[in-house]
Symmetry: C3
Subunit: 314 residues, 3 copies
Amino acid sequence: MVLLFVLTALVGVTASGVIRQSTADPVLPAAAGEDLGDGTRLAQYEVVNGVKVFRLRAAPTSWEVSPGNVRQAFAYNGIVPGPVIRINEGDQVRFILQNDLPEPTALHWHGMDLPNDQDGVPGLTQPEIEPGQSFTYEWKAISTGTHWYHSHMHGDQEGKGLYGSLEVVPRLGDITAARDYRLIIGDGPLGFVFNGKSFPATVPLRARVGERVRIRLIGAGPEMIHPIHLHSGHFELVAQDGKRLPLPQQMDTLLVGVGQTYDIVWTPTRVGKWMIHCHIFSHAETHHGMAGLVSIFNVDPPAIGLPLPLQQGG
Amino acid sequence: MVLLFVLTALVGVTASGVIRQSTADPVLPAAAGEDLGDGTRLAQYEVVNGVKVFRLRAAPTSWEVSPGNVRQAFAYNGIVPGPVIRINEGDQVRFILQNDLPEPTALHWHGMDLPNDQDGVPGLTQPEIEPGQSFTYEWKAISTGTHWYHSHMHGDQEGKGLYGSLEVVPRLGDITAARDYRLIIGDGPLGFVFNGKSFPATVPLRARVGERVRIRLIGAGPEMIHPIHLHSGHFELVAQDGKRLPLPQQMDTLLVGVGQTYDIVWTPTRVGKWMIHCHIFSHAETHHGMAGLVSIFNVDPPAIGLPLPLQQGG
Amino acid sequence: MVLLFVLTALVGVTASGVIRQSTADPVLPAAAGEDLGDGTRLAQYEVVNGVKVFRLRAAPTSWEVSPGNVRQAFAYNGIVPGPVIRINEGDQVRFILQNDLPEPTALHWHGMDLPNDQDGVPGLTQPEIEPGQSFTYEWKAISTGTHWYHSHMHGDQEGKGLYGSLEVVPRLGDITAARDYRLIIGDGPLGFVFNGKSFPATVPLRARVGERVRIRLIGAGPEMIHPIHLHSGHFELVAQDGKRLPLPQQMDTLLVGVGQTYDIVWTPTRVGKWMIHCHIFSHAETHHGMAGLVSIFNVDPPAIGLPLPLQQGG
């Protein structure tokens, strides 16, 4: 039963729907699809004549960053980050963006190899999308791996919450993992947030000793570079901006700049509560304790039947 | 004819004079040599008894950063950045620096393996060069690749414009490219500038689909680290501080800190206008649109006769 | 005699006591063990039933950052940084931490693979250590290489000086070097400090032409990312966060973020005074000259009997 869980949690086989991780209490409104166990939700789509069609609505919203701390945000489909767009390499995809903001907008598909008029730079590759208007983007998914999408209209639209993860599953050779999490780092008008939330409101992450845990770190900024530190030994850096490293490298702290994505893989060796946080302390702590860019991994013992070579003595 | 252009534009064979790129309107005064198509100009020299002799004059100047935005700058030979010094590995080089600033100065050859008394640190390796005085540096070019030179006297001299690219062409094994651009990033008293200019005054860069485009990113600071993002897929990082990477790595956003140089190679796959910009939005955008650390690549169709495997369907 | 010196200076054979570098005037109080030639001192320990037992006392102190510039610091054993903890892979180690601060504290062993209840995060893995109380940490040294330890209680405890180098010597395959220095970078309430001191109070470092000089760069923050530049050509990056790079890489300027450690190896080719400094000029210079994050390498000629292939002509 537990083993079955581990197998079905393996990612990279198909683009959506197979990720069923044991999650903590979902805290997001049911404005999108499946809860991915990290405070994000999978984008839903319909297939029209072989094209995957996604609908995104940009609109103002009140967003509770942490208990009692409500900010005026801009959101895609009512959630910060916007829904996780996970597609397969080779997919033809269409995005119908409805602008219900009080100002113009445009959407950039960061890291994508696509036609210039789909690149989403207002005034350069397309006209601004005026309030009340919609705009349709369409392209073929060529650039595999972890990318992201965000407003390219005024830096503060991005800072207010108009961003999300854009994950293109390669046909061959994806990063294998038993868990697949993402942490999108924000430092704009919403404060210091992982996936739209400040500690203690960040969603606790779950893992088991011996599992390969994939974490997609995305620097959404819009302003700062963050050294992200994971307690408990080290992790392995396996991809940058969606591109596999020719030789993976091990470390415990990684600089994540605005616009960058990194895929890291961590194999916990010990049960317990392990922090992942920005190591700039004013981003992660106050005199009242931890705050902001902090999440906790709850690491449980290995599932029954797994070999236990990684559990070290005290 | 077009093919001939491509061939003659290949760099790395000799140190100067062979680069003839199709350029946009030159905007710099004719204070130095050939326009390199990116807002910089090649340094001129004369050969005296086998030594390449360059003359640099540091002086105050008024510098128009963008239309109507004139700042009080310090410049080598009247231009920001100073002239591009491109020499061959093994060259014996001499630099006669005339200080016409109202304050002392000294010049550091960043990244060069040279005698300590030519290193340009005032008070440590040489006396300060007083206003009205000159100082002669001489050394043999050993450290190949992309480096830079800058004032090492007070951080704000560098910030005011006293820096330039220092390119040592290796005898063997240079990075091959059809285009060779440099973007020197400044964030001091001149504001946020690429090659001394803020968008929209930055020089538009040209390329063709399928060409290998070399871009030398140089962090002149003097204060900040900039995540530089190129739209349209990805580029390849091939060298850091003039040293070839043992394994090149692909990405779309690169952190460039003060003092660092990176050589990246981009092969455009699509025609159009592709941005290259700092992804910290306050460095690249205001509520009135793009500004500061932004340049545009104008990518044209491939030259006749080139194979077209890279042009993707829409 | 000189050759003998070089041989005994080789590190990595045993964990302590063999490092005897020629040092400049020691400037630290004799509050800990051997002076390591860079302004740090080796931690002393006693062996109790096969366990190496270290005693650390956290207390306020007045700390002279540079001549006449005295700051109110927090220190382990009276010195900033705290004593260098150098142990062997496989050692069982115990740390008795006495809190003589006016506030609670806790100590994190950054980069260590250890039991969760020894991780030192107050409120998560242990209770806060109240003033006047002590707490004992004990774990087995598994994670080899350069790491560090620091207070995990309020970011400003770290900034006030509660950090030190934590070096686990691998049984096999350590980085070979004739010199072994560390530069811990601080940017908090003590100002911009290398090993607790601002230039000109930083300890001058010594080396000879042709020697392999290991420098352990540690970003103690607690706030900033520093591009560290070494004059004179280039160095080789060989490890990050204690982990050997699969392929070492050469550069002359390296970004060191809060929480990161890097091991670099430099082989000087020229005699003279070579700077190592943060290239953000406001961290390394004022209008009165160099200050803050600056140290000087005094490079002497090679020892008699060494081959001289590295000494280049002028």
